[in-house]
């Protein structure tokens, strides 16, 4: 396996607890950028920034359009926008139609990131009640990226990860309680 350049974590219903577990594992010296993409209309607090910042000293910010993607930073997708990634590794935002009834759509960002980062991308799909993210994960694999799925048996709402496991040749199926250590480990993989 090789050193990744970007980690994207996508989740929907039931993923907040898992994400809250992951955040402390990402410290200020974490060598990768992490993008958190959650569907907000499923009982999420709108102020995730505040919620996360008490759990880590890494810098946490909402994605701003045209900003460069920097290591050691946890980016949060803003509510009601798709997050796209440009060829020069900057973010852009998009207010086009919902995809899978979702905006942000996990599929949209996984796919776009795979075009830019290819095999240096890690995409993680957590608990959720719809299939958003599954197709994107499949696309990530066609670009030789790394696909990680929360073990459906440990998911509060297993629908989303289960679909991914059924349909995609995922690289890792990780139980919720091991997810923080797993994400932390991604930082210390040797270069390709």
């Amino acid at each position: 396996m090789r050193r990744a350049k970007l980690i994207i974590i996508g989740g929907s219903a039931g993923s907040l607890q898992v994400i809250l577990g992951i955040i402390p594992a990402i410290g200020p010296s974490f060598p990768l950028p992490v993008l958190i993409l959650v569907h907000r209309n499923v009982g999420f607090e709108s102020n995730l920034e505040e919620l996360f910042s008490s759990r880590t000293r890494a810098s946490i910010k909402e994605v701003e359009e045209k900003e460069p993607i920097l290591p050691g930073t946890i980016y949060i997708a803003p509510a009601d926008y798709h997050v796209l990634i440009e060829e020069d590794q900057t973010f852009s935002l998009d207010y086009s139609e919902r995809v899978n009834f979702s905006r942000p759509s996990i599929d949209v960002t996984f796919r776009c990131a795979a075009d830019v980062y290819g095999k240096e991308l890690v995409c993680v799909l957590l608990s959720g009640g719809n299939a958003d993210g599954v197709e994107g994960l499949e696309y990530v694999k066609t670009k030789s990226g790394i696909a990680v799925v929360q073990d459906p048996a440990t998911a509060e709402v297993p629908y989303m990860p289960q679909h991914a496991v059924n349909r995609v040749a995922v690289d890792f199926i990780v139980p919720a309680e091991e997810m923080p250590a797993f994400i932390k480990g991604l930082a210390y993989l040797p270069p390709a």
Partner: protein, 275 residues
Amino acid sequence: MIAAIRYEEMEILLNDLFTRYGYDFTEYSKASLQRRIQRLFTLDKFPSFAEFRHRLQNDAQYFRRFVEEVTVNVTEMLRDPSFYRTLRTTILPVLATYPFIRIWHAGCSTGEEVYSMAILLKEAGLLHKSLLYGTDINPLVIEKARKGIFPVSQMQKYSENYIQSGGINDFSSYYTANYHLAKFDSSLTGKMIFSTHNLVSDFSFNEFQLILCRNVLIYFERSLQAKVFKLFDYSLENFGYLALGSKESLRFSPIADRYKQIGKEKIWRKVHEEG
């Protein structure tokens, strides 16, 4: 497996379109544009990029479809109610002091925001002395905007937005519902002028006290954003207001130092003229 339009191919296509039709998309944000072009390519079942390119070069009608489909036309009435609340409480009282109010909705799509503004002006007793200009690059959405007919299915959401924005009337008093369509009152439409206008290539056409351009600049690269900000600056009276989308900012623009943000909302006031 459908072929993917590569970035190099997209560049070729954009250069073609500029040469052939004078529409310049080369400074649009590429990730979004690629997605839209890919979507059209797939939808219309082109067997290859070469055929797609050939059709666009030789069929002006198809190019029209390209403009309609590739530009994003998602909008809603009174989106971000707190933004509209600030317009009501902070901006309209200032505009009220002018003998005549000119407002420009740049990139207005199907016009929902123009109708939202007209409702606010009407409730502030200002509509009679206002003119609202709505422009968009896409002629099809401009036709829709002129009609002022929107799906009834949206009205519940718009009504909620309306109440949150500080509206105190019955929102349904502004339209007549007929089956699945809601036609907005002609007293609103009468104060609107809709026209096509391309922010990339067209010039300023008037001077305004308020320009709204929300969720349009996110589709432009920084270089193009800078040009459009200059166009807005040129089109805005001194002490006029510029309103952007909730994730857009004047911060990195060449005109930033002459503008002052109003509270937390994405509204800036022009406080100095250039030079």
